[in-house]
């Protein structure tokens, strides 16, 4: 994921672990574009369990409402930005 540069389409992984994560449920499996890269931060998924938390890149990803909510989207072309750690993202063309 270190080669990701805007504008790059990414898909949020369809992961559903039972523990503490920061990736909103409603974005799992959704495709967006990288709006910008943010700094590396200690991984909150490890900090939550008293681990040191390896530094992971945080990315701001922009999603269209139609992608998130489908036909239920009230304003389909509005966008939503969410900050998601690199290990939760994969290239959008991946199967």
């Amino acid at each position: 994921m270190s080669t990701l540069r805007a504008p790059v389409k990414v898909r949020v992984k369809d992961w559903f672990p039972p523990g503490h994560v920061r990736t909103p449920f409603f974005l799992r499996g959704k495709v967006g574009v990288i709006e910008r890269e943010l700094g590396p931060f200690h991984n909150p998924e490890e900090l939550a369990y008293r681990q040191k938390g390896a530094p992971r890149k945080l990315l701001r990803v922009r999603f269209e409402m139609s992608e998130i909510w489908g036909e239920d989207a009230e304003t389909p072309t509005d966008t939503l930005d969410a900050e998601i750690y690199e290990h939760w993202l994969e290239p959008a063309d991946a199967t």
């Binding site: 369809d14 909103p24 449920f25 409603f26 799992r28 959704k30 939550a48 369990y49 938390g53 489908g70």
Partner: protein, 126 residues
């Protein structure tokens, strides 16, 4: 939920089974209570305890949230905000070894013995 219908591998029904209770973004919600309210002294102290002990490095906000989430949906309905916080702070401090259950029990008995009211209990402190 309709919202998940375009996700690739996981069916809508499966989604609803694996969504953790606290992760409620996009879920139907009722009216939001926008009333302001004051905090009780003990609630301010819980807040201060969180700031002080996390500042000391015993745990982070991630650990606070992890325990709050693991406490489950029922506690969200039955306990107040700072009641949940103090339980999570305590759990994190125990895990970090800030004090033992024996020390906590001894202190709780000591405070209980001071009196019935919050003022009595606090007044006898250090």
């Amino acid at each position: 939920m309709q919202a998940h219908s375009n996700s690739r591998n996981v069916t809508v029904m499966e989604h609803d089974n694996i969504r953790r209770w606290h992760d409620m973004g996009g879920q139907p919600a009722g009216q939001i209570d926008l009333d302001q309210h004051n905090f009780a002294l003990w609630e301010k102290r819980v807040d201060a305890l969180m700031v002080l002990t996390s500042g000391k490095g015993y745990f982070t906000v991630d650990g606070l949230r992890r325990v709050l989430e693991d406490m489950g949906e029922d506690t969200f309905e039955t306990m107040s905000y700072y009641e949940r916080w103090v339980q999570s702070v305590n759990q994190n401090l125990l895990e970090a070894g800030a004090y033992s259950l024996e020390e906590l029990s001894t202190k709780m008995a000591e405070v209980t013995a001071r009196g019935e009211t919050y003022g009595d209990c606090a007044a006898g402190g250090e």
